[in-house]
Amino acid sequence: MTSTIQSGRRTVLKQFISASTLAMVAASGLLLPQRVLAHWPNDAFGADTVEDVLLALMGQADEIKNSDVTFSVGKPAKLVTNGQSVTVEVASRLANIERVAVLVDNNPNPLVMSFDLTGSVMMPLKSRIKIVEGESQVIAVIRADGKLYKTTRNLRVYAGGNP
């Protein structure tokens, strides 16, 4: 009788110890698949939805759909045969732009890149991104004076880019 109680207690103790060790290892980040630099916003780039990205990257702010942001994707726009390299150009007449983000809603992780601007940088910003096959929305979000200005473009990609 005593021995069964004893052994039961051992198992519980062992389980508790292994569980707590695992939790510590997980918390210390040793299980992460790759080395992550501290200054790179891991939560924003790892997020699965556009809303999560914006919350992680831009914080809480009012979203405004605004014609002050002009934004072009692809040549020709709306139809892209190669999703490996799609030209994106973001321009705006807004003042005091702090941050510009480019997102693709159907990519596995929507956030593609984010620019942190100082006062000496002028639009347009131009770059090339990868987009998955199928219909996607490319989204440009500008944070200026604590407000978010969001513009979207729909386009169809015929050969995906493995983003």
Partner: protein, 105 residues
């Protein structure tokens, strides 16, 4: 394989701005694509890009793996003079680093 081996930077002076164009040579693989012999590519991409004009920080770009291969950026800096030194440095997720600089023409 690309013919390009070196990062390139070109900065040209215009009436009211300096146009900067940067091409970085990097595979930018997301770990989701496969090559011709069906090996999965590793996750290898540039995370951080910084740009300076005469040692003053101008622009910081954070990239994810969905940035295209051999990332290209172009942007404008307010004002500027001939001979300004434009410098760009990058670091990727495996800790590899690169730097490229040019004078404004």
């Amino acid at each position: 394989m690309s013919m390009l081996h070196q990062d390139r930077l070109r900065a040209t002076l215009h009436a009211e701005h300096t146009e900067v164009r940067v091409l970085l040579i990097h595979p930018m693989t997301s770990g989701r694509s496969v090559n011709k012999v069906l090996d999965a590519s590793p996750l290898h991409f540039i995370q951080d890009i910084h740009c300076w004009r005469n040692d003053e920080t101008m622009l910081t770009v954070k990239c994810g793996p969905a940035t295209a291969e051999n990332p290209y950026f172009s942007f404008r800096l307010v004002g500027g003079e001939l001979g300004d030194k434009i410098k760009v440095r990058w670091v990727d997720n495996l800790g590899e680093k690169g730097a490229v600089q040019a004078l404004v023409k």
